[in-house]
Symmetry: C2
Subunit: 725 residues, 2 copies
Amino acid sequence: METAVVDADAVRTSAPSKDDPANLEALFYPQSIAVLGVTQTPGTVPYDIFYNILASGYQGVIYPVAPGKRSICSVRAYRYITDIDDQVDMAVIVFPASVVDKAVEQCGRKGVKGVIIISAGFREVGPEGVKREQRIKDLCRQYNIHLIGPNCLGLINTDPASRLNASFARKMPAQGRIAFLSQSGALCTAVLDYARGKGIGFSKFVSFGNKAGVTEIELMQYLHRDPQTDVILLYLEELRNGRALIEAARAITRGAGAKPILVIKSGRTPQGAHAAASHTGSLAAEDNICEAVFREAGIIRVPSIEELFNTAIMLTGQPMPKGRRLAIVTNAGGPGVMATDAAVSVGLELARLNEGTTRRLRDSLPATANIKNPVDVIGDARSDRYTAALDAVLADPGVDEVLVILTPQSMTNIEDIARAVVSIRGHCHDKLLSASFMGASDVNVGVDILQAAGIPHYILPEWACRAMANVEQVRRWMSQGNGQDPPLRVDAAAAAALLAACPEGYMREDHALAALQAYGLPVPEFKLCATADEAVAFADRIGYPATLRVVSPEVIHKSEVKGIALNLEGPQAVREAFARIQGNVKAALPQAKIMGMLVRRMIPAGHEVILGAKRDAVFGPTLMFGLGGIFVEIFKDVTFALAPLSSGTASRMLREVRAFQILDGARGQAKADIAGIEQALRRLGQLVHDFPRIAELDVNPLIVGPAQQGNAVADVRIRLAGQDQ
Amino acid sequence: METAVVDADAVRTSAPSKDDPANLEALFYPQSIAVLGVTQTPGTVPYDIFYNILASGYQGVIYPVAPGKRSICSVRAYRYITDIDDQVDMAVIVFPASVVDKAVEQCGRKGVKGVIIISAGFREVGPEGVKREQRIKDLCRQYNIHLIGPNCLGLINTDPASRLNASFARKMPAQGRIAFLSQSGALCTAVLDYARGKGIGFSKFVSFGNKAGVTEIELMQYLHRDPQTDVILLYLEELRNGRALIEAARAITRGAGAKPILVIKSGRTPQGAHAAASHTGSLAAEDNICEAVFREAGIIRVPSIEELFNTAIMLTGQPMPKGRRLAIVTNAGGPGVMATDAAVSVGLELARLNEGTTRRLRDSLPATANIKNPVDVIGDARSDRYTAALDAVLADPGVDEVLVILTPQSMTNIEDIARAVVSIRGHCHDKLLSASFMGASDVNVGVDILQAAGIPHYILPEWACRAMANVEQVRRWMSQGNGQDPPLRVDAAAAAALLAACPEGYMREDHALAALQAYGLPVPEFKLCATADEAVAFADRIGYPATLRVVSPEVIHKSEVKGIALNLEGPQAVREAFARIQGNVKAALPQAKIMGMLVRRMIPAGHEVILGAKRDAVFGPTLMFGLGGIFVEIFKDVTFALAPLSSGTASRMLREVRAFQILDGARGQAKADIAGIEQALRRLGQLVHDFPRIAELDVNPLIVGPAQQGNAVADVRIRLAGQDQ
């Protein structure tokens, strides 16, 4: 809610410089705009767009292009954009989809640098539209045009230096420090209306629609440098390039000039994803992968519009707190309890007030007050008591953030208390102050005072707590180092040679194990033995008990054909098992070609974990981690990440499964070799990253040994795509 | 939001009759009221209360009792209530706590039937206050007075027959069909302000404070019969009598004239419970037990005020849907996706529209519309398209409830669409219709139309979905039979004899097993054998392998003293183990008196489940169920219930743990004897219910056999309280 008058020129010079990776200046700060396809009928998109730019106080020049019309809203109209005898920086196209390509081409010839295509009828309508959209993409590339849309609501820049409402939204929003980017145009209208009702302003507001040209990533990068923007909000229905998003978001959310990114990604449920796919014409990515992408990029995902804005207002114009220790000051016990529940549930800590604070509270509050946190100044409290209590808790070094709760009791002087909260805000420095004046009628007068002063206000204390929990996520992320791991030592050439020799389909087990070995995974010594003699000789060397596993291109599931023998205690047992397995396999699959038996020493029992990798159609190589058996199958206790993995992410993946406690020595068990599992995950991630042919890879199980004694790959399956991948 | 003028006499006669269990008529419909302790200073509670009754349009006569004052607000004042020359039905006491008892006594002598004590300074301030409160309770009992409070905001009845605001709330709320009961007075002020801002009305509104007299249970029973009330809302900080609450709530929430009960119970987290305890001076019950109590009583627990009212408005004046199949009609794809996500996440089903419906939609909507659910009428839809789409989906027999979403796009005629929704409502019959006009500014004109017509409206579709999920819970509960189980056959006399012989502390294992046997739990045959010969003879009879377990009052943890021998394959092994255990125990605990060895046949391995029982200080006997080991310890995968158990609750307890799938034959395993576990739980519940001396009881583990082959108690520990319990 920044409403101060800003010097337009000063802003203009501080606006993003021309050497940005994607210079979107022409879109947000054009000196002149042409609107192509304007009509004379109010209440239609082609008219409204033109009218909105005209009426919003736009600081440049606007030209309607409307074949056959002399003027639109008293402004001289042109037949073609090329007829305009002035430079045109940006064009807004509202022609029907079928002629949009021609309009774009004319824009290109005119030297337009930015184009917004409002019109629908492209990718979202099927194959015909996809072709149309491709044609436009090609033209924009050819003419070096930054394209927003098609199929969007348009763009708004509240900066007084531009004051541009190039959208068919009903009204220009207030100026503020929140930027909003949306894939859904319709949602934008709801968000603008919601924000206006709540007194929330925006810096920039973009509906990017089909994102045929400029993507959310380039917009985020632009907003990162936009001095008008403190926080970036994003509504997404599909994630097209998860990797690029991670890279971009990391650069935005950390380091000097970092800005938080909040996102709503719909299609969380399979049904929702299905609805989104039919709506955007896009491929649905798995939601748990999206979740991982956001987390690794420092993007805060929120479930609803309400939480999106509740969090955003806490991230604009407020100090970033140093921690998550919350003090609550309330005039009502019940809401204090509810706020405590909410705070603890979302992971905040209730601050322990120190002795000095407690003494100050005791001295300045009545005897019936509760001087412990939540501090209850009691129902008949007036502003003086709030001031005293807030002064005391804000001075306590053990307090990072303060929530002021007010219920409108008969003695409550709501306005005075609101003013007291505003004036005390100067004492906050690095503490986050927010308020919940509970109600929706009498309290409004106080709420208005708080909001005008930029103090985050929430009708319910629970909402404040959820917002603080999101701020805490931002804080933790920003305070993490962005350290680079030293590169992993792997024998990529050996793995490449192995893969090159393998056709499409499942790799032979010995080859798969060898590939893992090349990448430094803990593969116990093995040998493919063609004869029983060879098997016995190898077993003698590595020691007993031994195991035999049949190797045959025709055998995918070894146990189904009785192709495995375990616990072989000596040479005789190995010899017998060799023959027995040969017999079993021949009986089950007479046509199977048996290459021999994979001989290995029996791996001692231990916890079993699964390391999985899959090439996602949207995100490329992804990794999965979980404990075997019921943990995966019944508790769905697994985590995901993109490959390759940083050591930090590997560590996070392990610790996020609930069964991690089992590895970590819960129930008096020995601690497992956790560092070894992390290493194995990272090496696996490197392998699937380096070789796009690996479509699927499962180490199931990796048998986990005690700490520092190492783990062992017990079974692996690798499925390769064809050689041309 | 019922605003129709009601015939006062008609209402009066339909009000609860005088022979209610707790006849609270004098509190809600008094013919005359005295306010004791009124002052002349506006802005103080003692004045405001009097003024509010006077100003609210109360239909009876009001008398101020204000010693030393001639009049209050121009109404003649009295020195004592006994001076009033009229019958006084109800008194409101606002005197300081120290003289409240005298005031109550005078009320009693005057024949007052209902008293509201607003004053604080009782149980919540410590031992002195507890005594004061007890004195008042005694007086009320003596004089047969129904007491509300002390330490409360008061009571409001919006019924035109009474129009009573006997509270210090700033304003009388609108009339409506929602009753609200709150333990926190301060929260009431926030709720009233919130409701006024949202246009929500109330039938009755009671702040019951310390509930020294009338409890939430009696109030709920009264409201059950109140023809003005459709739904009962409850804010609780402590549950004092969980058993009585269950009985009462079950009678209210099921059968003819059933009304839903929604509750916010704060103190969900340990920190919140701690804050609540210091606030109410009450004992905190475990939240998971509260959860179980609510569930067994058909009470819907909600986490916040917002969800409380969001649900309540859906339960007043709306048809109860037949199921949970939701159709969404929207003019915006994005919000349609978000609503789908929200609906599926909370357990609703997306309705599959039938062919006829799809055809109707295709015929009446443009080609670009999405005629699958969520039905997208597209951004330029006006009211005619909404009408057509709603007509079609409401006629579909596969649709139980419909959510209308609107985003305010430039062509959207918000008012007309709101009116279309209102007029279509007549077609609903048994279908639940709600709306989400997204925004907070332009959409308000439509929202007002919807709300005035009593159509539940939500700013965000997510809120509508959460409310529908709660309605679905109500529906399911109401449609369940309230069938009585046949009594369990148990040998209570045998168990009583066993317990009578046992002192305080842990029961000897053979006694504990015998007690379980008496109650029909699956205890494998056992015998306490004093000599090795005896042990061998018994083992020979029951068969091998056998187990021996030392029995000694001094030995609590048998394995710590090596007091157990398993897998004894023959007589010789039994003999040796007998001597070995004797030696072990003597070495470890030289003073231990060894009663002998408990001999049993080894129980075959199987899944292990834990059946636990504990006497809760607030709720009495409670039961816990979970699978053993990591399931309980790491996944906290357990459920709770009050003892004794119905068969329905036993079934629910088993099925609510996630590991139930393991018992149910997941991963290709044999199905366990689930009916047997349910029986065991119920019998255990009966045992701890019948014998209050049982403070704690753990069957850990019950080893679970295959379906219909039965389970076996492998170990039990029972801790008894002293004989006087």
